[in-house]
């Protein structure tokens, strides 16, 4: 009986999520680097010189590092090497940081949400979702199958995703999005350069562009739609391979087709200072 009670205690102590509530001074700190395998992490910028973390660690976490290293704060949820994690609960952490701090995050199946920071983010997951709200600076987002949402943000956007969907609504002059089978939906103003590519995923763009924009959109089989929200000054060239299609809702120029069934649409508009190029092999291209 005594041994049974001891076993039950051991099991419960292993399975129980450990709570954390820690704070470190962040004067002069420029970056926070967070590693969390699974669960959910929320990072929020605040008018503060402190970094604090609250919540519960992963049920199988072996330790927790939270310390200052030079100009960085490092936060790591330490996990066992063996990955028998099914049925166990991941971390749930809320982190408060100074607003002007750069946030770096690495996770596997951990969701990450970052709100209200001004020095940019570099967020990477495998299957975890990424959510960025009211963030400015460089936004570097990378996932395999997690979905990505960027709203009310500002700055250079670099997105890489395999099968996850991407949705971004921001103010950015420089955008680079690469998806494979995921869909990408982007709304932005003041765009000087946008390079968007997909293989089988669809792309939908609503862009207000600069005086001489460079827009390049490429798919293999996916549909790509570009909606220009202000006046355009560019040389425009849309091209498909055999079997692709082009829908021109921008002007009355005619789409040409060759005997090998590739299609093209080319025209200049305004001062023609910029360049808009859309390519697909067998997908559909829409310009409006």
């Amino acid at each position: 009986m005594r041994s049974l009670l001891l076993l039950a205690f051991c099991i419960s102590s292993v399975w129980a999520a450990t709570s954390v509530d820690e704070t470190v001074a962040a004067t002069g700190v420029t970056e926070i680097s967070i590693e969390n395998l699974r669960g959910k992490v929320t990072v929020t910028g605040a008018e503060s010189e402190l970094v604090s973390v609250r919540g519960s660690l992963d049920e199988v976490a072996e330790g927790f590092t939270f310390e200052r290293r030079g100009n960085s704060i490092v936060m790591i949820v330490e996990m066992p090497q063996s990955r028998q994690l099914r049925g166990r609960k991941g971390s749930e952490l809320t982190v408060l940081v100074p607003q002007n701090i750069f946030v770096r995050f690495k996770g596997v199946s951990s969701d990450i949400k970052v709100t209200n920071v001004t020095a940019g983010v570099d967020l990477s997951t495998v299957s975890g979702d990424i959510n960025v709200l009211q963030v400015s600076g460089e936004l570097d987002l990378d996932s395999v199958s997690g979905s990505m949402t960027v709203t009310e943000s500002q700055g250079k956007l670099m997105v890489s995703n395999v099968s996850g969907d991407v949705s971004a609504d921001l103010l950015s002059d420089d955008i680079q999005i690469s998806v494979i089978s995921g869909n990408a939906e982007l709304k932005s103003e003041g765009v000087k350069r946008a390079v968007i590519s997909a293989v089988s995923g669809d792309i939908e763009l609503g862009l207000s562009v600069s005086e001489s924009p460079y827009i390049k959109v490429t798919t293999v089989t996916g549909e790509a739609s570009l909606h220009l929200l202000n006046s355009l000054n560019a040389e425009v060239r849309l091209q498909t391979g055999p079997g692709g299609d082009i829908l021109n809702r921008f002007n009355d120029r005619t789409v040409t087709s060759s005997f090998v069934k590739e299609k093209a649409l080319e025209f200049s508009v305004g001062t023609a200072a910029g360049k808009v190029q859309m390519n697909t092999v067998s997908g559909t291209l829409v310009i409006k």
Partner: protein
């Protein structure tokens, strides 16, 4: 015939019979006549030579010009054809190089990828493989069209772009899974 006619005809016949077989011109006139004849012949010859010579020269020049023009045109056409063939050859070589690189990179990637698939989400593995097949199919479609229309620059660009997308996919997976 009357009697009077017979008498006349007899007189004529007698006169004819009295004529000598040949008459030599006077010695002092013959050299003058021969000189005159030779002079006329020479003039005639000289005149006829002066008449056809300019036409012959013009015809020769024209012939030379036409011949040069034809040669020039043939040479230009030949050079253009040669350049076209060189460009086509270069294009084929460039395509073959791209294809070789593509096959090499892809084979290496698939080798490493297969070894890692157990630790990856099966849905992601299936998705990556599916999209590689989609790109392969797209490349085959473009190549088929290029065989029908080898000089199509846009198709060539699209092919290069599609190869580039495959490289991008591979790099993207490698970045997401650093062990690959």
């Amino acid at each position: 015939m009357s009697e009077r006619d017979d008498r006349d005809w007899s007189k004529i016949k007698q006169s004819i019979e009295r004529l000598p077989d040949s008459i030599e011109p006077p010695n002092d006139q013959w050299s003058a006549i021969r000189h005159r004849i030779e002079l006329d012949a020479s003039r005639l010859k000289s005149k006829s030579q002066q008449g056809w010579m300019p036409y012959a020269v013009a015809a020769s020049l024209l012939l030379a010009l036409v011949s040069t023009a034809i040669s020039w045109k043939s040479m230009s056409a030949y050079q253009a054809l040669q350049q076209q063939q060189i460009a086509l050859f270069e294009q084929q070589r460039s395509l073959q190089l791209m294809e070789d690189q593509h096959q090499l990179v892809k084979a290496r990637f698939l080798d490493d990828f297969e070894q890692q698939t157990e630790s990856m989400d099966p849905a992601v593995v299936a998705d990556v493989k599916n999209n590689l097949v989609i790109i392969e199919q797209a490349i085959a479609d473009i190549k088929r069209a290029l065989m029908q229309d080898p000089g199509n620059q846009r198709l060539n660009e699209l092919l290069a772009e599609t190869y580039s997308q495959e490289r991008q996919l591979i790099e993207q997976i490698k970045l997401s899974y650093p062990t690959i």
